[in-house]
Structure formats: structure tokens, C-alpha cells
Amino acid sequence: MERGSLDRWSIRFMSIIAFLTSLIAIIIAIVLMWKSFPLLQISTIQEIVLGSIWQPLAGGFGFFPFIMGTIWVTLLAMGIAIPLGLFSAIFLAEYSPGHIRESIKPLIDLLAGIPSVLFGLWGILVIVPWVRDTIAPMWGVSTTGYCVLTGGIVLSIMVLPLIISLSDELFRTVPLDIKKASLALGATKWQTVKYVLFRKTYPGLLAAIILGFSRAFGETMAVLMVVGNVAKVPTSVFDPAYPLTALIANNYGEMLSIPLFDSAIMMAALILFIIVVIFNILSKLLLIRIQKAV
């Protein structure tokens, strides 16, 4: 074939594949909506989201306990990970000498690559006994150790690398001149961080935190292994919970045997999908705002 037409055809071919891959997210959304539609015909969205009766055999599909399970675990995990991650990132970007930063960064990248099952294993071996034997007795509570707190701790370790590496990079984009100007005016390093760095990077930090949230929402295996999986709204951090992801993972093998059960599981996936997509779009919008500002 002549060079010119070979070029045209390969470019055309590549852009067709590109178009097809852009459909992945859309196809997922369509399948989820199509499969969860039958459930909407027998009950309203309000009943599904706020109902707390979960009896698939009797046709009771209330997701409230699962949604609350997801929210409890995620909020706890982010409550631990945000301060730890931000302070660590400030330390790495502003305070630590170069060689310490160079040796800590690879460790954090390494952590990001560890499979979630191994975090679950670690949770069962280390955090569960710790919560059961040390933390819970301190508060005068008895628990099996498989509870919201354990899930939150394990999850926080998993989202930390994301928050640390994103915010570390953000802090390093702040021009040295501005920092020096602040220091020259007599501000301490912390004051520079507080009044210059934070002010300059807060949309990006917010984007990083939102990304962390969406990662935490979707995490399945590690949480499923340590959180106890009891379908009841937790009332304290020492209660077991049953997040949406665990509900899907534990049930989609047998979802065909009970009427509407598959539809309910897909509804759980759809709820999760909507939350995660909204969070991702939010963080993308924030990042676009930064790019424009720079």
C-alpha cells in the first residue's frame, strides 16, 4: 500500500479503538441501569435508599444498613488518613532533607502497589487482635475485632499513598520565590505552609482528598475481610458493618436463585457507581481549575 493511505487507514483504525474504549464507562452505566430497573418497578428510590429491612427471600430490599456501613468505614478511614497524609506530605515536601525524602518516597509508592488482599491479611493478623485486646478494653467495650474501626484503620493505610504522593507533588509546584518572600518577611516555616502553601494549593488538596474518598468507597476485598459483614446500621465504631462493596462481592455468585436479588445487587453497584463517578468528576473539575490558574 502507498505510504499516505497506509497512514490514513492506521490513524482511522486507532481512532476507532479510542472511541470504543471511551464507551467502557458508558456501557457499565447502561448495564447497571438496565439490570437494576426491575427493582425500581416494585419499590421507590426512597424505600430502597432509606429502607433498613434486608430480607431478599421476602422481597425486602432496603439498602440503608449497607449505605451507612460504607459511610461509617469511609469517613473513619478518611478521618485518619487526611491529617496523617497531609502532615506527612508537608514534612516530605518542605521539612525533610533531600536524602530522607528520596528514601521514603519509593516506600510509599511501593505501598500503593500492594494488592488489597494483603492489606486484608494484615488487618486480620495485626489490627483485629489489636482492636480486640487493646483498643476496645481501653473504652470498656468488648468486640470481636471485626468492626468499623478495624475496617477504617486498614482502609486509611490503603488511601494514604494516594493522598501523600498527590499532595507532595502539589506542594512542590509552589514557586520557590513565593516561599522565600514569605520567609524573608519573618514568617516561620509553618506560617509559610499555612498562609502560602495551603492558600496556593487548596483546590488541588481538595481534589486529592476527593480522589481518596472515591478510592475508599470502592475498596472491596480488604474491607470485606475485616469489617464483620453484619447487615445492621452500626451505632459505634466497635460495631460490625456491611459496606456496599462487600454486599456485592458476597452475593453476586448466588444472585440468580432468588427473584429480584440480582436486580438488588446491581442496584447496590449502581449506587456505588454514581457516588464514585460524582466524586471523580468533582476532583477533575478542581484540577482543571488549578491548571487554568497556573
Binding site: T21, S22, V31, I114, F119, M225
Partner: protein, 281 residues
């Protein structure tokens, strides 16, 4: 002491404490998996498939899961390389910042953020719809689909680093767009290798997506359409066993998985450094 230096001191301590907690967490994860795994590891774990009554404490090993995971991840990686390179090239060559390219990038970014359990559930639904059974093939497809957006976006970002001069030089020598892209690929090769190996680590470690698409089997698969055992699921099943002997095996399987993932991650560093010498600076 002045108030601002007290504040400085206070936050400095807070930062050091945070980084120590983070480091402690990382080391605790790695050391727990390694120490528990080493004490439970034996040769038969590595070279035998499960014998009868394995999950009740009988003899055997998890060769089926080790090989199964490698088959699955390698197949998925090959599939997604063949698809992701053309897509990244296509995104790269549309030099104009059109809305269309932005749409593709955004939808890929959204796909990157979708939890793998949803990929698993959707592919499983499609499998049920067309009457397919869980097998190595469907496991590969699921993993390939969820690492595809990640790979495309990282290769895309790497290609953006290519100096404009090189592209102009390629065009000046009379090359077509496709030939120019091959120069860009060569230039970003170290980054592409890193992206591939990181995606491999992602693929081999994920359990949620293959929970029902790949199935589980105690023997090695002899064809693409048989269920296959995988390491993450082997860990999950063994750790939930009531027998301590079987739980020990979960620790050993965990160590094997960690070693595979770490090897991929270290290899990506070494290889990308090695290929750096072919890059025009």
C-alpha cells in the same frame, strides 16, 4: 518562647509523628506478610497442586493458583497492550485540543476510578446473559478491561512528555503521522515499560473483579474456557477456613503474591532506567 515559634515546634512534632506512623504502617504491612509467610512456606506449597482434602488440612500446594494468576495477568496485559498503544497514539496525534479528545480522556479517567468489583459484576452479568461460564478467558477479559483505562492514561501522559522538537524533526524528514508516532513510542519507551509492569501488578493482585468471572479450580487449566485458580482468591478462601493449618497456607500464599508484585515493581524501575539510554534528551 514566642508564640509563633511554639506553633512551629508543635506542628513540626506533629509532622514527624505522622510520618513515623505512616512508615510504621507500611513496614508493619510488609513485615507481617513476610514473617508470617516465611514461617508457613514450604517447597510443596510451590510445586504441587492441592491434593484431596487440601482445605481440611490435607497435603498439596498452590501451584494451580500461582500459575493461574500468572496466566491470567499475562493474558490480560497482552490484550490491553495491544489495545492501549493505538488508543494512546490516537489521543496523542490529535494535536488540536478538540472537545472530542477531551471527552475520551475524561471518560477514561472516570473508568479508571470505577471500583473493580463493579467491572466484575458487569462482566458477570454479561456472561450470564450470553450463557457463558466462569473461565480463564472471562477472567482475562475482565482484568484487561479494568487495566485498559489505567494503561492508556499513563501511556498518554508519558507521551505528552516527548519534546516537540523531536516530532517536528520527524515531520521535517518527511514522515507520516504514523511514522512520527513510532518515534514518540520509542522516545517514551521507558515510561511505557513502567506503565505495563505497574498494570501487571494491579491485575495480578485484584480479587474483586475475578471473584466470579474466573471461578476457582483445584487443577491447572488445560484450555482457555476452564475455571482457573488465582492467588488473591486462594488467600481469601484459605484465611476464612477454620483450620489453622489451612490459614497458615494463606500466609504463605500472601508472601508469594507479595514477592510477585514487588518483583514487577522493582523490575519496572530497573528496566525503565536501562531503556533510558535510548531516549533522546
Amino acid at each position: 518562647m514566642k508564640r509563633k515559634s511554639m506553633e512551629e515546634y508543635f506542628f513540626k512534632i506533629l509532622m514527624v509523628v505522622s510520618i513515623l506512623i505512616v512508615l510504621g504502617g507500611i513496614l508493619s504491612v510488609i513485615f507481617t506478610v513476610v514473617l508470617k509467610g516465611v514461617s508457613a512456606l514450604s517447597l510443596s506449597m510451590l510445586i504441587e497442586s492441592p491434593h484431596g482434602g487440601y482445605y481440611l488440612g490435607g497435603g498439596g500446594g498452590i501451584l494451580n493458583a500461582i500459575l493461574g494468576s500468572l496466566y491470567l495477568a499475562c493474558g490480560a496485559i497482552i490484550l490491553s497492550i495491544t489495545l492501549s498503544l493505538p488508543v494512546a497514539m490516537s489521543l496523542h496525534q490529535s494535536t488540536m485540543k478538540s472537545r472530542y479528545v477531551e471527552y475520551i480522556r475524561t471518560s477514561l479517567d472516570i473508568a479508571c476510578g470505577i471500583p473493580t468489583i463493579i467491572y466484575g459484576a458487569v462482566v458477570f452479568t454479561i456472561m450470564v446473559f450470553i450463557g457463558a461460564r466462569s473461565s480463564l478467558f472471562w477472567g482475562m477479559i475482565t482484568v484487561a478491561i479494568f487495566i485498559l483505562p489505567i494503561m492508556i492514561r499513563s501511556i498518554d501522559e508519558i507521551m505528552l512528555q516527548t519534546p516537540k522538537k523531536i516530532k517536528i524533526a520527524a515531520f521535517a524528514l518527511g514522515s507520516t503521522r504514523t511514522e512520527m508516532l513510532s518515534v514518540v513510542v520509542k522516545q517514551s519507551f521507558p515510561g511505557i515499560v513502567t506503565a505495563i509492569l505497574l498494570a501487571f501488578g494491579r491485575g495480578i493482585g485484584d480479587a474483586a473483579s475475578i471473584l466470579f468471572t474466573a471461578g476457582y479450580s483445584d487443577s491447572l487449566p488445560t484450555s482457555l474456557f476452564e475455571p482457573v485458580a488465582t492467588l488473591p482468591l486462594a488467600i481469601l478462601f484459605q484465611i476464612s477456613s477454620p483450620y489453622p493449618v489451612v490459614q497458615q497456607r494463606a500466609y504463605a500464599s500472601g508472601l508469594i503474591l507479595l514477592v510477585i508484585v514487588l518483583t514487577a515493581s522493582i523490575a519496572s524501575r530497573v528496566l525503565s532506567k536501562k531503556f533510558m539510554k535510548y531516549v533522546v534528551k
